[in-house]
Symmetry: C2
Subunit: 317 residues, 2 copies
């Protein structure tokens, strides 16, 4: 049960991660111009925060090989906040040159996932972060932290909340401006959300968590509900539910931005984002990918968009 | 915010409606033997409450033309509770002869939907219920009530909570044992769940509501979360998310039973239903329908079912 200090927030900040976390798991390689077009549709709907790309090896993630070009294509739009993941110093140099607002330093809370993802130990990742952070000092670029497998690991199973807390403290010491808890393979549940959010509020009170859920097991928005009850006011989501899960054929990836915006709207929570505009962006995303995407409100429309219902079936209860 | 009397329940009763609400909206006509096989898979998983079919005109709903045969095929399994929708006295006679445990009397909270669905006014529907209820007196058959379009109408838009309350009072006066609020086209939202549940607790305190959500706009389980916070302990769902929405091509229908059971399990809420068994039933449902169904946990598996992850992608954050 939330206590009085854990009230549903009046306003929530939504960060769009579809162009990064969504596309990196999709088999289709979108041309930069199509990515920019999708981003502009999202901007038209009111999205301002983008986790846009990753400055990783183009061999490792070919879908994001155009990181610098994409930043450049969107950099002229005013009032956007563009962040990008960087795995190492070289990635940070590229991000700096490209002109991002923030770099996102990422590490997994489970050793096996971190080894498979970035080929080093958790402590080696944390040491890299210090190196990157020193390099960026004085550059004006914001440093953000992201913890993958923060709610469970597909290799190790449960992830101890203290492993998440330990990494969070490192990010706080580094002066990170934000900390995202990544539900990498959709293992978050409402009780785990409560446990992790409350633990982080104790160990890193200056670094309020951002929640990044996947809908792999269908309960992504139930986890958002739990986050809202706890007063968490920052969420990351992916237009259309772009993404998929590399471990489960047919399974959903990130929660769909438009479904989350619909939920927040209906709860009277301000996002600055227009649902109709998001539905248009979601439809564009489906056309560009050439497939139906998981987002639901994009197919059904807003609840009061009354359609042509002349062929209503009968006696259905 | 829930007050102290609205605590998350320790135990929830799940009623499986896939064979009724699910199949009536599916284009595939399942043979009775396949329906019975799916029901037996659900029984093996621990499901005991089935809304199994409707005794409606076979011309109006061909998918449910085998209502009596299906009841008969499952009647020999011990400890099952089998209910069926009946639109009129003739349907009630057929249900009685078939040997159901309960009939479900249904009416829409919006006049237009009721007229299109059962071709009469709401008051005419309520008058029919009295006739049916008198006919069933002394038969030992339980009478249940269901209110369609209880959270909104695809023709009229918003549905006043007092329209729902008025019908609920009729069901209470009739001696109905249960009242289900149907989210017929997926228009329920967390604030509407709160408003309706609290209103019904005032006007019909003896008739605790059952919640029946559709996932048409992706927030079905967010609405379940809201119901749980309010202390509601009865939910209706459909295996695999069978159903679809007659108004929105590609849109989801009922919330998926296995995704809901997964959520309840992870929240420590007892259902008496085994998730692995539900996933097996969900896979059977997909095979029988010959298509992928919306349920997510069926594709991804339980969160700690660690798979073969040798091909983990790299540097993905």
């Amino acid at each position: 049960m939330p206590d009085a200090s854990e009230a549903v927030p009046a306003r929530v900040q939504v960060t769009e991660v579809g162009l990064r976390d969504g596309l990196q798991n999709e088999p289709v390689l979108l041309p930069t111009e199509d990515k920019a077009r999708l981003a502009r549709a999202l901007v038209a709907a009111g999205v301002r925060q983008f986790e846009l790309t990753s400055f990783v090896s183009p061999r490792a993630v070919p879908a994001l090989a155009d990181a610098a070009e994409l930043v450049s294509a969107l950099r002229q739009i005013p009032d956007l906040h563009l962040s990008a993941l960087v795995p190492n110093l070289r990635g940070a140099e590229r991000a700096l040159a490209a002109g991002v607002d923030a770099v996102v330093l990422f590490v997994s809370a489970s050793a096996t996932h971190n080894a498979k993802n970035v080929n080093c130990s958790i402590d080696d990742s944390l040491a890299r972060f210090e190196q990157i952070s020193r390099r960026l000092e004085g550059s004006g670029i914001e440093v953000r932290g992201a913890i993958a497998t923060a709610f469970g690991c597909p290799f190790e199973g449960e992830v101890d909340v203290r492993a998440v807390g330990r990494i969070a403290r490192h990010f706080a010491d580094l002066g990170a401006s934000r900390l995202s808890l990544g539900d990498t393979t959709g293992m978050a549940t409402p009780p785990l959300v409560t446990e992790r959010v409350r633990h982080l509020r104790e160990v890193t009170p200056s670094l309020p968590p951002t929640l990044h859920f996947h809908n792999t097991r269908g309960i992504g928005l139930a986890n958002v509900m739990q986050g809202l009850w706890l007063g968490v006011d920052r969420y990351e989501s992916s237009i259309g539910g772009l993404g998929g899960c590399p471990f489960a054929p047919g399974a959903s990836g990130n929660i769909a931005s438009e479904d989350m915006v619909y939920l927040l709207d209906e709860m009277g929570i301000e996002t600055g984002i227009d649902l109709e505009g998001m539905i248009e962006a979601g439809r564009l995303a489906a056309r560009l990918m050439g497939r139906e995407l998981p987002a639901q409100v994009t197919k059904a429309g807003p609840r009061l968009a009354l359609g042509d219902c002349a062929d209503v079936p009968t006696a259905r209860g």
